[in-house]
């Protein structure tokens, strides 16, 4: 069942069309990654879903049309994490930042404390709770922004280049954690990125180019289209690119996403 559907989306900046009759349906509990090069329309789509840009479209989220009347109720259940968390911090400590939204909803302090403990544990933020979020490094700030979104237990989590400043190792750990979260709580994840390495735990990968869906498929089979991805300027995961080059010399016979399995395949 679709938790989000966009029909006939048309949007333009001045005279330039970003979307012209764009359609998308996202299943409940799925993890969909929408990837595309700079200028593909990713951030515009996030802004439209967040109600920050007005568009002509028939958008339904949680079976309710996205309009002025339903905006508050819909937004209440979507967690948005943007690429530049600096713009969102309002409190002097990470702990207060995490508590902020729930305090405003009148949740009991003890419940908030417990939730902060749980979320901090998931994202390894325990040591940073007393720090000022503005004093943290870029990657730490992004983790706090993600934690703030998880505090509200959203039904849909929208990530707009949300792991950009986090280093590869930590990013992989966070992606694994999010996958568990996605499975256990049936949270729908909609991830917007230009980095296909971030799509490895997705159920579905959509490639957006100039406002049009160019590729839409299940993961990882969708990488059979890796040439198209590269042509429009996307960086294909290292293991996929290496597999493709080794296949040309008949050193391996199929693509591998995992480097260790790929090395075993080379020297089997």
């Amino acid at each position: 069942m679709a938790i989000l559907s966009i029909n006939n989306l048309t949007f333009r900046y001045k005279n330039k069309f970003v979307f012209d009759n764009f359609n998308l349906e996202v299943e409940r509990g799925s993890w969909v990654t929408i990837a595309g090069p700079n200028g593909a329309g990713k951030t515009t789509l996030v802004k439209i879903l967040a109600g920050l840009e007005k568009s002509y479209a028939d958008i339904t989220i949680f079976n309710k049309p996205l309009n002025k009347k339903n905006m508050y109720d819909i937004r209440r259940e979507i967690g948005f994490v943007f690429d530049n968390p600096d713009n969102f911090f309002a409190c002097e400590t990470v702990e207060d930042e995490l508590a902020f939204s729930l305090e405003n909803l009148g949740v009991f302090p003890n419940t908030i404390k417990k939730k902060i403990k749980d979320v901090a544990k998931i994202l390894k933020l325990d040591d940073l709770l007393k720090e000022n979020p503005c004093d943290l490094s870029g990657g730490e700030k992004q983790k706090v922004a993600l934690a703030t979104a998880l505090m509200l237990e959203p039904r849909i989590l929208v990530l707009d280049e949300a792991l950009l400043m986090i280093d590869v190792k930590e990013r992989d750990e966070i992606l694994k954690t999010l996958k568990e979260y996605n499975k256990q709580k049936r949270v729908t994840i909609l991830s917007f990125t230009h980095n296909l390495e971030e799509a490895i735990y997705s159920d579905r990968l959509i490639i957006l180019n100039k406002g049009v869906i160019t590729i839409d498929g299940a993961f990882p089979e969708v990488f059979s289209e890796e040439r198209v991805m590269r042509k429009i300027g996307l960086e294909v995961p290292f293991a996929i690119e290496l597999s493709e080059k080794l296949k040309v010399y008949n050193i391996i016979d199929h693509m591998e996403l995992d480097l260790e399995r790929l090395v075993s395949l080379i020297w089997k």
Binding site: N84, G138, E161, D167, L246, L259, I266
Partner: protein, 289 residues
């Protein structure tokens, strides 16, 4: 332009209750006309180091000498210094404030050399350096795509012809084509315009292709530094300090662990593929004989 750190330490909220040590006893020399990379896990002090190099923060202990400038000197003239040292922040395009690309790029030159009558030709020259033609001058910087915006931001730093270019995560948020173009541009700035470039990044695959030297930081201290080949040869040390390892090096190490075969220095993926192919062919010949 050489950058020297002499026993430098830095703390945020120095001598306050919530003092946070960011860098400890750093002794480093970034040589002229090379590309240097600084890597390390999040919170290791990378961006702090860049802020110290531009005089945005001053060390709480030690001395920083950049070319002819000693940043610790009393009554230091930062205006002159900033003309020679260009800093490109993370997401520099988010600081645009002019209506056109031309005005945006010319801004620093108007401040530093108000009497200069050739600003327009200088703007055209730096736009060319970053791969943008004259038609961009009248365009709004806000209407450009991510890669173009980044290049305009770099051009607005290059206008004052800095000898040292400091960049914080220059490839962040860029797609592959924009990233490759930026890497080519940085190489060109080093070889054709003799710039010293210092890059902080976690994009270690990009770094592996373009840098000469690397500094690895962890918890505010230097773990290892030097020529990239020596630094990246020590995979265990990098992993122990949660520093990223280039994928080419990672695969080489896996092959070595599995087969005992050392493929030698491989600068990129194409040379890795060639080395694997040739090694496999040699092994086949040996086993046939």
């Amino acid at each position: 332009m050489e950058v020297i750190f002499k026993d430098v330490s830095f703390s945020y909220n120095y001598k306050m209750e919530n003092e946070k040590v960011a860098l400890k006893n750093i002794n480093l020399c970034f040589e002229s006309n090379l590309i240097h990379g600084i890597i390390g896990p999040i919170g290791s002090g990378k961006s702090t180091m860049l802020e110290l190099m531009n005089g945005i923060s001053l060390p709480t202990k030690g001395e920083i000498i950049i070319g002819k400038y000693n940043l610790n000197k009393k009554n230091f003239n930062f205006n002159k210094f900033r003309y020679d040292v260009g800093l490109v922040y993370q997401f520099p395009e988010k600081q645009f404030f002019c209506n056109t690309v031309g005005e945006e790029v010319a801004f620093a030159e108007k401040i530093f050399s108000p009497k200069n009558k050739n600003i327009k030709s200088k703007v055209i020259k730096v736009l060319k350096m970053v791969g943008l033609d004259e038609s961009y001058i009248s365009r709004s910087p806000f209407s450009l795509n991510g890669g173009e915006k980044r290049r305009v931001a770099i051009a607005s730093v290059l206008i004052s012809n800095p000898k040292l270019l400091i960049m914080d995560e220059p490839t962040i948020g860029l797609d592959n084509n924009s990233k490759k173009r930026l890497m080519r541009m940085l190489k060109k700035l080093k070889t054709m315009y003799s710039k010293t470039i210092i890059i902080v990044t976690h994009d270690v695959d990009m770094l592996y292709e373009i840098v000469d030297n690397v500094v690895v930081l962890n918890k505010g201290e230097v773990v290892v530094e030097g020529n990239k080949l020596n630094v990246f040869a020590n995979v265990e040390l990098l992993e122990k300090n949660k520093a990223p390892v280039p994928n080419v090096v990672k695969v080489e190490k896996m092959i070595y662990d599995k087969t005992g075969i050392d493929l030698g220095y491989l600068p990129d993926m194409n040379s890795l593929v060639r080395a694997i192919k040739e090694t496999k062919e040699e092994l086949e010949v040996v086993s046939y004989e």
